[in-house]
Symmetry: C2
Subunit: 356 residues, 2 copies
């Protein structure tokens, strides 16, 4: 895997490195600079040998990374612990964990001392293949998901594939779903490849770095042009508008990337109904996505709450749902569609056809 | 007064306008864009006629701007009220108030929806002559002053000199102190001018816009080069390191710009002791600053707490106090000085000589 640089309006540029000796890498980092490690305590338990500092005076804070902790109040707790650790403006915060760890540390580093350097070791497939680049931090506020946040990429990202060893199949599936949405934004090739060797991708961790690298390559090309998500980066909402609303009504029982998988399939189905793609195109993508689809169906009993959840999407305009549809692999398009009886019927019909 | 533009790494550029019809200006702003006004309730009471919206559907939030409210928790309350006002990503937050209003609105606009447009009507002399440009927001955390914050300038600043009419002499003196530190960073000319017509500046509000414009002109030249305060902008800590510690030990009984006035005089005295300026230079600046100096003296009974407060300054390195001293008007220099018995004696000697 090749290291690369992401240009950024916020940071000038930041770099992504693939590393293969975690312990040595972290110890060198700790020896060479003023750092405070902020580590997801679950990750710390699983990788205690590699993560244990050589020098006991190295400052480390263990945090609990649940969705309920992605709040300002938890950030305040972490800031208090940073103060107790004698944090200074020229310290670098080093996050070790998944997307929630990233959100918490990125947000704190945005506001502490008017901006603090931070670096990131992503530990989940989702964080390695997607969230680690792109600058976004997201913090929940009351019952509003991701209402707060900043654009604040780390100055360096270190991808250690060994972290993936302990992930569950469900977490791998979630990462695959997220990568698929990047792959299908480019064309059919990589998505078909994942589908063709799906069992290997699911069970052989050595298959993943190649996919991670491609996923980040595709994302990088877009975020370098539209870091602040005001135009072309919107295409990466593909599967997400419909997926987020599934996550909301299932209270996050369905992992993010798996909800996105259904979201893409539904977006494709709506694209088919609107004549944007033909049946052959839909079927080909459906066959690919189907392998990674969790058990879920739209029914008369959940369609109302689903519409409610969709109607709250930040990208809507009035009663129009802002979402990404497809003219085929590699041809995504932002569309505003009416949230009406017809959409409701299309969604129910989709599940009747494919989820029964 | 001439409008001008400030270039910014954060915003590209933002503009400062001097306006003379507040009511018309605000009504046009409200009519032309999606705005939510966030107004210091004290200002709203004093200027109720001009601030009352023509259209009652214009969204307005009144906030209480005390130092105790410059916290994340109060920002959360304001965010809840923005949500109740149906805030959207494309709304512009319009702050009307002094420095604390600015801090609260700038901070919220940094984190809400990952960054929200905001504009600013500064209402105090301090905010008009200084804080309105320069990008900084500052939020207190527990007992740490300004520990949190961001760099986030408004997209437009509207200076209405009429707001100065209701300010107390103490607030005017505070603003004069702040302006003096800009003037003395450039040379003796403007500072001498203020001193020569001190009574007029203190009592005739029409004397102020000319000084405000010059103060902003001097600040602008530096912040355009060093917006993030990593190098040359440090010179604007002149008077501030010593002044902040006075504010701290007097529990903010002495207004900021007045504490800065003593801070400059003390910095000059230390510069004299170190042979950086001669007695004639010190005396000339002292005669100017003296007119704006509040009643305060360093004594055996407060020198320990003063040293304590100085030792907490973020710009210190180890036991060295990071502060700005002077080689004469227009020749400021960052220096790290020992916090030792000699400094202690110099400070006591300063007050024995000038404050008895």
């Amino acid at each position: 895997m090749s290291d690369f640089v992401v240009s950024s309006k916020v940071k000038g540029a930041y770099s992504v490195h693939f590393i293969d000796d975690l312990q040595t890498h972290m110890r060198q980092l700790a020896a060479g600079a003023k750092v405070i490690f902020i580590v997801d305590e679950k990750v710390d338990r699983l990788f205690s040998d590699a993560l244990a500092p050589e020098n006991p005076s190295v400052r480390r804070i263990l945090i609990e990374c649940s969705e309920e902790h992605k709040t300002i109040d938890y950030c305040k707790e972490v800031i208090r612990r940073l103060i107790a650790a004698n944090v200074r403006k020229d310290d670098c915060l080093v996050a070790v964990g998944g997307g929630i760890t990233q959100d918490i540390v990125a947000f704190i580093s945005s506001i502490l001392f008017r901006g603090q350097d931070w670096k990131f070791y992503p530990t989940t497939l989702l964080a390695q293949c997607d969230s680690c680049i792109g600058s976004k931090s997201s913090i929940n506020f009351d019952h509003f998901k991701n209402l707060l946040g900043t654009f604040n990429p780390p100055s360096e990202i270190f991808i250690y594939p060994g972290f993936l060893e302990t992930l569950s199949e469900s977490e791998i599936r979630s990462g695959i779903g997220e990568m698929m949405h990047y792959f299908l934004s480019e064309g059919i090739g990589l998505a078909q490849e994942v589908s063709d060797r799906f069992e290997q991708v699911l069970h052989d961790r050595s298959a993943l770095p190649y996919l991670i690298e491609n996923s980040l390559r595709i994302k990088r090309a877009i975020i370098q042009v539209d870091e602040f998500d005001t135009s072309i980066r919107h295409i990466f909402n593909y599967g997400h508008t419909f997926g987020h609303a599934i996550e909301a009504i299932t209270h996050y029982a369905i992992p993010h990337g798996q909800a996105v998988t259904i979201g893409m399939d539904l977006a494709n189905y709506i694209s088919l109904q609107r004549g944007m793609i033909d049946r052959t195109q839909f079927d080909r993508m459906h066959a690919i996505l189907e392998k990674n689809t969790p058990s879920f169906a739209f029914t008369e009993s959940n369609i109302e709450s689903y519409f409610q959840a969709l109607s709250k999407d930040k990208k809507n305009k009035g009663n129009k749902l802002g979402c990404i549809l497809t003219f085929g692999p590699g041809k995504l398009e932002k569309v505003f569609i009416d949230m009406d009886e017809s959409l409701r019927n299309t969604i129910l019909q989709y599940s009747e056809t494919y989820h029964s």
